[in-house]
C-alpha cells in the first residue's frame, strides 16, 4: 500500500494536503478563538463551547428549514440562517455565562470547570430531546462558484467560504481588540481585572461581551462546518471542541493570534499525517504534538513566557 502512496516528493499532492489542512485549521482556529478569549479574561476552560458550536449548526439548520418551507428565495437563506445562528448563539453564550459561570467568580478554581462540564452534558441532551438523535442533512445552500474552476481539485466552494469567512472574522476580531474602546477594555481586563475595575471598566460587561463574541464565532464555525460536511447531530460539538481547545493551547492559550496559528498548525499537521502516514494516527498525532509542545514550550507557540514572581 505504502509504495504508491508515498511516491517521493510530489508537489501536487503536497499542495492538496496543504489546502485540506488549511480548511480544517481555519475551523479549529475559529472555534479556538472562543476558548482563548474566555481563558484570557477569566482563566476558565469553557468546556461547553463545543456545544455552542453545535447549537449554531442546529439553529441555522432549523431557520433555513423554516425559510425554505415558507418559500424564501434560496440565495438569501444561507445569509439569514447564518445571521440567526450568530445572534442566537451569542444569546446562548451570554446566558451560559450568567447562569453557570458568573455566580462562581471567586469560587475554587475547579468549580467553574465542573459547572462547564455539567453544562456541556446538559446542552447536548437538550438538543437530543428537543430535536432528534439522528444525523440531520444540512441543505446545500452555497451558490456555485465558477471562479474556482481552475483550482477545484484543492478547493471547493465550501472550503473557499470557510477560508474567506474565518480570515475576515479573525482580522476584524484582531482590529476590534486592538483599536476599539471595548477591545482595549478587554485587553485591560485580561491583564489585570482588579486594575481594570479601578480604572472604571465594567468587568462584568466585558466578560459578557467576551462570551458573546466567542459564541458568535463558534456559531459561524458551526454553520460553515455544517454546510461543508452536509449534516449535523447533537454530538458534533465534542470532538471539534476538544480539537479546537488543543489548537488554542498549542498557539498559547489566551493569545488571539496564537489561536489562529495553533488552529492552522494543528489542521496542517493532521492533514499531512493522514496524507503521508495513515488516518489511524491523525488524532493520536494531534494529542502527541500537544504534549510535546507543552512539555518543551509550555506557553504555546505564541504565548508569552510567564515568569513567576514570589
Amino acid at each position: 500500500m505504502s509504495a504508491c502512496v508515498w511516491g517521493g516528493m510530489d508537489i501536487q499532492f503536497f499542495i492538496e494536503l496543504f489546502f485540506g489542512g488549511l480548511t480544517r485549521g481555519s475551523i479549529y482556529a475559529l472555534i479556538a478563538l472562543g476558548y482563548t478569549l474566555v481563558y484570557g479574561i477569566i482563566g476558565l476552560i469553557n468546556f461547553a463551547h463545543g456545544e455552542v458550536y453545535m447549537l449554531g449548526a442546529f439553529t441555522a439548520l432549523l431557520v433555513a428549514g423554516v425559510l425554505g418551507v415558507y418559500g424564501f428565495p434560496a440565495g438569501g437563506i444561507l445569509v439569514v440562517a447564518a445571521l440567526a445562528a450568530v445572534v442566537w448563539c451569542a444569546a446562548y453564550g451570554y446566558t451560559l455565562e450568567k447562569v453557570a459561570y458568573k455566580p462562581l467568580r471567586g469560587a475554587p478554581r475547579l468549580s467553574p470547570l465542573i459547572s462547564a462540564i455539567g453544562m456541556s452534558i446538559f446542552l447536548q441532551n437538550y438538543v437530543l430531546l428537543a430535536q432528534t438523535s439522528d444525523f440531520v442533512p444540512f441543505p446545500n445552500l452555497l451558490p456555485p462558484m465558477d471562479f474556482l474552476e481552475y483550482i477545484d481539485y484543492v478547493m471547493g466552494p465550501s472550503d473557499f467560504l470557510i477560508l474567506l469567512v474565518s480570515t475576515i472574522a479573525m482580522v476584524s476580531l484582531s482590529l476590534f481588540i486592538r483599536f476599539t474602546r471595548m477591545g482595549k477594555a478587554m485587553r485591560a481586563t485580561a491583564q489585570n481585572r482588579k486594575m481594570a475595575l479601578l480604572l472604571g471598566i465594567n468587568a462584568d460587561r466585558i466578560i459578557s461581551l467576551t462570551f458573546i463574541i466567542g459564541s458568535a464565532l463558534a456559531a459561524l464555525g458551526g454553520v460553515l462546518i455544517a454546510s461543508h460536511m452536509g449534516q449535523v447531530n447533537f454530538g458534533i460539538g465534542f470532538l471539534a471542541g476538544l480539537k479546537a481547545f488543543t489548537a488554542a493551547v498549542l498557539g498559547g492559550i489566551g493569545s488571539i493570534p496564537g489561536a489562529m496559528v495553533g488552529g492552522l498548525v494543528l489542521g496542517l499537521a493532521e492533514s499531512f499525517t493522514t496524507g503521508y502516514f495513515s488516518g489511524n494516527y491523525e488524532d493520536m498525532l494531534a494529542f502527541g504534538i500537544l504534549i510535546l509542545i507543552l512539555v518543551f514550550r509550555p506557553d504555546g507557540i505564541l504565548g508569552k513566557a510567564t515568569v513567576e514572581k514570589v
Binding site: E16, G21, I27, F135, P137, D159, Q231, G275, S278, G279
Partner: protein, 375 residues
C-alpha cells in the same frame, strides 16, 4: 341446581376477574444506546418496539396479557450494558430486544445465558456472537459480518471484477469487521489492497484522506461504518471529483443515506436482505412509525421491528413465556416480518433471510442479481 349456580358464579367471577389478570403485563425489555453519541442507532429500535407493542396491545395483547415496554439505556458501553442487563433480569422481563452494539452484546450474553433469557439483537453483527454455540438464547435479525463479506467479496470479484481496492473504516467494531472480512477474502483471491485506513467519524473535514484516495486510484472503495460517516465521506469525495464507486455494509441501505448524500449517492453498492419493501409487514412498519413519530424511521428500524415481531410471535406460538418454548418457537415457527419470512437457525442467525446487492440508481435502491440465502 345449587352446584350449577355455584359454577356459574365461579365462571362469572373468572370472567370479571380476567381483566385483573390481564393487568399483569408481559414485559419486553429493550436495551441499547438511548443517549450518548451512539443514540441515533439505538433510538430507532426503541421506536420500533414502541410501535409494535402499541399495535399488539391495541389488538388485545397476547396470551390474554398486555405487553409492557421496559427500556434500558446502555449508551453502547459494556459496563453500563451489564447494569442494564441485570436490571432487566431483576425486572423479570420475558424477552429482551437488544443490545444494539456488538461490544455490549458480548458483555451481556453471559448474564442472559445464566438467567436463561432470550435476547435478540437487531444490529450486532460480530460473527463470534453466534459461533460456537455458547449463547443458546441469543438471536439476531441481521446478517453477520462473515455472511455479508461472503456476498460482497463475491460481488466485487465476479460482478465488478475489481483489481485494486481501497478500504476505509470508522474504527468501530461494525465497520472494521466488515472491511476486515472483505479484505481477507479479496486478498486471498489476488485483489490488490491500495489503501487501508481509518477515518474519524466526527472529524470536521475529510479532505486529506479523500486526496490520498484519489492518488491511490482504486477501482472500488469498500467502506465500513455507518450511514452518516459514509455520506459525509462520499460528498467530499464527489466534490473533489473522486469518482471511485463505493460499496458498503447494510448500515448504508437506508433512505436517510440517499437523502443525506443527495445525488452523490448515485451508484453506491450496499448489501442488504432481499428487497421486501412491497411486503405488507414492511408497509405496516413504516406507517406505524410515521403515525407515531411523524417522521421516517432511522437506522436498523426494520431489523428491530422484525426482532420484536418475531419475539412476540414466538411467545404467542409457544403459548407461554417459558424460555425453552420460546426458543423452540423461534426455531420452528416462521414469522412474517418486514425483512421477509424468518425462522432462526440453531446458532441464532436468521435463516431464510436472503442477502442481495443493491445499487442506488435515480435516488432509489435497486436490487441487483447477486444474492445469497442464509442458512
Amino acid at each position: 341446581m345449587k352446584k350449577k349456580a355455584l359454577w356459574c358464579a365461579v365462571l362469572a367471577y373468572c370472567l370479571w376477574a380476567t381483566p385483573l389478570f390481564a393487568a399483569e403485563t408481559i414485559k419486553i425489555g429493550v436495551a441499547g444506546a438511548h443517549s450518548g453519541d451512539l443514540a441515533s442507532y439505538g433510538i430507532p429500535s426503541l421506536n420500533a418496539a414502541k410501535v409494535v407493542i402499541a399495535d399488539v396491545n391495541a389488538k388485545g395483547g397476547i396470551l390474554g396479557h398486555q405487553l409492557e415496554l421496559v427500556s434500558q439505556d446502555d449508551q453502547c458501553k459494556p459496563e453500563l450494558a451489564t447494569n442494564a442487563a441485570t436490571k432487566l433480569i431483576s425486572d423479570k422481563v420475558a424477552v429482551v430486544m437488544g443490545h444494539i452494539c456488538s461490544g455490549p452484546t458480548k458483555a451481556t450474553l453471559p448474564l442472559y445465558t445464566e438467567a436463561r433469557m432470550v435476547s435478540m439483537s437487531p444490529s450486532a453483527t460480530t460473527p463470534s456472537l453466534t459461533e460456537g454455540g455458547n449463547n443458546p438464547y441469543f438471536f439476531r435479525t441481521i446478517a453477520n459480518d462473515k455472511a455479508q463479506a461472503r456476498l460482497t467479496s463475491d460481488f466485487i470479484l465476479n460482478g465488478l471484477k475489481a483489481k485494486k481496492v481501497a478500504y476505509l473504516h470508522d474504527n468501530g467494531e461494525y465497520g472494521k469487521g466488515f472491511v476486515d472480512g472483505n479484505r481477507l477474502m479479496l486478498e486471498k483471491a489476488g485483489v490488490e489492497t491500495v489503501l487501508f485506513e481509518a477515518v474519524t467519524p466526527d472529524a470536521v473535514d475529510f479532505s486529506a484522506v479523500v486526496r490520498k484516495l484519489r492518488r491511490a486510484k482504486p477501482d472500488l472503495l469498500v467502506f465500513g461504518g455507518y450511514q452518516p460517516t459514509a455520506s459525509k465521506l462520499l460528498q467530499q469525495m464527489r466534490r473533489d471529483r473522486v469518482t471511485t464507486p463505493m460499496l458498503g455494509p447494510d448500515g448504508l441501505k437506508d433512505d436517510a443515506f440517499i437523502k443525506m448524500a443527495g445525488k452523490d449517492s448515485e451508484g453506491v453498492y450496499t448489501s442488504y436482505p432481499k428487497d421486501t419493501s412491497n411486503l405488507p409487514a414492511w408497509k405496516q412498519a413504516l406507517e406505524g412509525h410515521v403515525k407515531m413519530f411523524g417522521s421516517a424511521p432511522g437506522s436498523f428500524y426494520y431489523n428491530a421491528y422484525a426482532a420484536v415481531v418475531a419475539l412476540v410471535n414466538a411467545m404467542e406460538k409457544a403459548g407461554s413465556t417459558d424460555t425453552d418454548k420460546i426458543v423452540e418457537a423461534l426455531r420452528t415457527c416462521p414469522v412474517e416480518t418486514p425483512l421477509g419470512t424468518l425462522t432462526f437457525s440453531k446458532t441464532g442467525d436468521a435463516a431464510g433471510m436472503a442477502l442481495s446487492i443493491y445499487q442506488i440508481r435515480d435516488g432509489k435502491f435497486v436490487e441487483l442479481e447477486h444474492s445469497i440465502t442464509l442458512d
